[in-house]
């Protein structure tokens, strides 16, 4: 099954990114394919320069590890990146600058779409 998850709020301030990753991990363990689409302030979580306190979770690093395992893609809204001054050289390895056409394609092709936007 192909699962799409969309998030829009910033990491560390809100819980949606953590929820999205936990859902994705559970889905990947069951052999599903997951695409995480980052929209608006959620794109901040792909900044490879993020350095959380040692006791806290490292969301960008976690996303890298999940992508390395396969069947997990991180798409980033390109306009949202530009808006927040995040350039392609700043984003974590494996994540893909993307856009609304790709989001439309994801919506049309995935079996389940989890919207954490509202």
């Amino acid at each position: 099954m192909k699962i799409g998850i969309q998030v829009m709020v910033p990491p560390y301030t809100y819980e949606d990114l953590d929820t999205a990753m936990k859902i994705a991990e559970a889905a990947l363990e069951k052999g599903h394919e997951v695409t995480l689409f980052l929209f608006a302030d959620s794109v901040i979580c792909t900044n490879k320069n993020i350095k959380p306190l040692r006791i806290d979770r490292n969301i960008p690093q976690k996303l890298i590890e999940m992508m390395k395992k396969g069947k997990f893609e991180v798409h980033i809204c390109g306009i949202c990146m530009d808006y927040r001054g995040i350039t392609p050289d700043m984003i974590i390895e494996g994540s893909k600058p993307s856009g609304l056409p790709e989001l439309a394609n994801l919506l049309a092709t995935c079996d389940r779409f989890i919207n954490l936007m509202a």
């Binding site: 949606d16 389940r112 954490l116």
Partner: protein, 87 residues
């Protein structure tokens, strides 16, 4: 019929509307602050579940819930069984 995700607390008007609109064949999953709904009797014909991790993370114990607690893995099972998702 549909999997309804509730992530805000009991004073949130949209979540109130989602729960009020749920049908008997729907499944409601309480997640994040939505787990606070699990502390009281929810008036809905739908089957209601709460994410165990999120419920325990807020300082409650398993005896405090009035709905079934599920893991993220069981959430994926529900996602597989329901074609429609309302978030």
């Amino acid at each position: 019929m549909a999997l309804i995700l509730v992530k805000y607390g009991t004073d949130h008007p949209v979540e109130q509307l989602k729960i009020k609109s749920a049908k008997a064949e729907d499944k409601i999953v309480l997640i994040q602050n939505g787990v606070y709904w699990a502390l009281k009797d929810i008036e809905t014909p739908a089957k209601v579940y709460a994410i165990k991790d999120d419920f325990l993370a807020r300082g409650y114990s398993e005896e405090d819930t009035k709905v079934s607690l599920i893991s993220y893995s069981e959430f994926i099972d529900l996602l597989e069984s329901e074609e429609k998702f309302i978030g």
